[in-house]
């Protein structure tokens, strides 16, 4: 049988792609690689904190001034203090809520619009010039306009967050639509699929990898936009907290705010990757396999 396959786990491997390393050795190697990666990563973080500690403890100043920069220990103690403060928790929560609403709205609008613009040239030709004009305006530049447009500060901040996420999601979806093999649509039509089924069963799953690229990029831009909006116009939120710490000369809180923003950004993009991994089981196959 020319198309006989050899089973490794539950994946079929054709003779051409057979691996020569035995399973035990290859898995031992994987464990070692993973351990080495973790150790090196922790080492670089530890060295960074050590450098920070030395620079701030000895108040180094060579053009760049570490005179007022808080030490790691003072940031840690302010973090412990903030951990008991309900106001701090509220700031984190409200930022997450703004991201949640703005990002969700951007997804619910951007993905269907990208799908339909990709499918119907008339819609694309009508809307794409407008999108191209509005897109280069950074979401932060929308802050004054947004405050004028929306009745409450809260809504204007969510709108800024939405704008940041919307364009990467829309444009990645649209770009993905252009890359779909038209033969797949023909195959579906030959099997009796109507337009609605083609959207649901062919176009949407075919474009999902690019949609998730758009979501990951959009989430990053959403955080950038949110923090800027909170610093300028906010009354609560982690961006507001960070700026407020500067105004109130609470320097350790600046670093605490920065670390929290970084952690939330990291967590939210990890969440998107995890969702992508769950909804696209077929896309996992491409990882670590010779093509």
């Amino acid at each position: 049988m020319p198309d006989a396959v050899i089973h490794a786990g539950d994946t079929a491997i054709t003779p051409e792609t057979r691996i020569t390393v035995s399973p035990e050795r290859s898995s031992a190697r994987t464990v070692f690689r993973r351990f080495r990666g973790l150790a090196l990563g922790l080492l670089s973080i530890a060295l960074f904190v050590l450098a920070w500690h030395l620079l701030t403890t000895y108040r180094v100043s060579f053009h760049v001034r570490f005179l007022n920069v808080p030490t790691p220990a003072s940031v840690l103690s302010s973090a412990i203090h903030a951990g008991r403060d309900p106001d701090f928790a509220y700031n984190l929560l409200i930022s997450c809520q703004r991201i949640g609403i703005g990002f969700l709205a951007a997804t619910l609008l951007g993905v269907p619009l990208g799908l339909t613009m990709g499918r119907w040239p008339l819609l694309r030709e009508t809307l794409l010039p407008l999108v191209e004009i509005v897109r280069p305006i950074p979401a932060i530049a929308w802050v004054p306009m947004s405050i004028m447009l929306w009745p409450s500060n809260e809504e204007s901040i969510v709108f800024i967050t939405f704008l940041g996420a919307f364009f990467p999601i829309l444009l990645n979806t649209l770009m993905g639509m252009g890359q779909i093999d038209p033969v797949l649509v023909r195959a579906a039509r030959c099997l009796g699929a109507r337009e609605a089924s083609i959207f649901r069963e062919v176009l949407l799953p075919a474009v999902l990898p690019q949609v998730f690229t758009g979501l990951a990029v959009g989430m990053g831009v959403a955080w950038v936009s949110l923090i800027a909006a909170e610093m300028i116009a906010g009354q609560f939120g982690i961006g507001y907290f960070t700026w407020e710490a500067y105004s109130l000369v609470q320097y350790p809180d600046i670093v605490l705010g920065m670390v929290c923003i970084g952690a939330l950004g990291l967590g939210s993009s990890a969440l998107i990757r995890a969702i992508g991994w769950l909804v696209m089981p077929w896309a996992r196959l491409a990882d670590g396999r010779p093509k």
Binding site: M1, P2, T11, T14, R186, A187, C190, A193, P205, L285
Partner: protein
């Protein structure tokens, strides 16, 4: 409903297709009787696939008409199953979900769909792979899925566009045998596009030779070999005669397609001239 309940009669009459000033195919007339296996053969780019796409319903004829069971073709439908050279399986669906797709589009219930797909998969020897994704299969297995996906809805006509062109010689022979078995079992009409002469003879009842740009029917040949067929028949005098006749017909067309400088029958001379020129350039 047609009177005789004839299933799978294809009639293409005076079919022509133009894109602006360019004529892709012109004045093509051919037919497929119910249950007949017919091949279209010709040099690449000659418009064989254009004819197939018109029968599938992807192209509207500029002139002439395409009838299936005396009804004009209006757009693609599950009546006419299609198999593509590049398999065109849905990468996000498992093997079983791919086979179920047409049935799902017909509105068949989940459990009935599952049962039908499982039966077909085990006939094709793929039951162990029902939960695999296409990416995990070899080329021959992918095309087996492609064929049973097209057959699952019970089409009247099966259209195949160079389905085995991307497979190695061994796999291709096995797939040809499988296709003949399915065709004999289902008594379905088949329109098969290929540029492989042996493949066309081995499989077909009749063969149409298509000319290059613009595509026209150059010849129609009946294959006199009895059925069931086996690979040993490729040594019989009937097979060899037909093969050399087809070779001659297609060679003329291929040369014509290569351009006016290459006169039919003098292709070898051009090769010599080229060899001389390259030799001279080296010194």
């Amino acid at each position: 409903m047609s009177i005789a309940r004839a299933r799978g009669q294809v009639d293409v009459s005076n079919f022509g297709l133009c894109f602006g000033q360019n004529t892709a195919v012109s004045d093509i007339s051919l037919y497929v009787e119910p249950g007949e296996f017919v091949s279209l053969i010709g040099p690449s780019g000659c418009g064989k696939s254009t004819v197939l796409n018109a029968v599938a319903g992807f192209l509207t004829p500029t002139t002439g008409q395409v009838l299936v069971d005396n009804e004009p073709v209006r757009g693609p439908s599950a009546d006419r199953g299609m198999v593509f050279q590049q398999y065109s399986l849905f990468p996000w669906k498992t093997v079983r979900q791919n086979v179920e797709f047409g049935l799902k589009m017909q509105g068949m219930g989940k459990s009935e769909r599952l049962a039908t797909a499982r039966t077909l998969l085990s006939v094709a020897g793929l039951h162990a792979f029902e939960n695999h994704y296409p990416e995990q299969l070899s080329g021959g297995m992918k095309q087996r899925v492609g064929i049973i996906r097209a057959l699952a809805t019970g089409p009247r006509v099966l259209l195949l566009d160079e389905p085995f062109g991307a497979l190695d010689a061994q796999t291709r022979m096995i797939m040809q045998g499988l296709l003949l078995d399915l065709w004999e079992g289902l008594k379905i009409s088949v329109l098969f596009v290929t540029h492989d002469i042996d493949e066309a003879i081995y499989l077909s009842d009749r063969i149409y030779v298509v000319t290059a740009a613009p595509g026209r029917i150059k010849a129609e040949l009946t294959v006199p070999l009895p059925r069931p067929r086996d690979s040993g028949m490729s040594e019989t005098p009937e097979f060899l005669t037909l093969r050399s006749r087809l070779h001659e017909l297609i060679r003329e067309e291929s040369l014509r397609a290569m351009g006016n400088e290459v006169e039919a029958g003098s292709g070898r001379g051009v090769g010599r001239d080229l060899a001389d020129a390259i030799g001279a350039a080296r010194h």
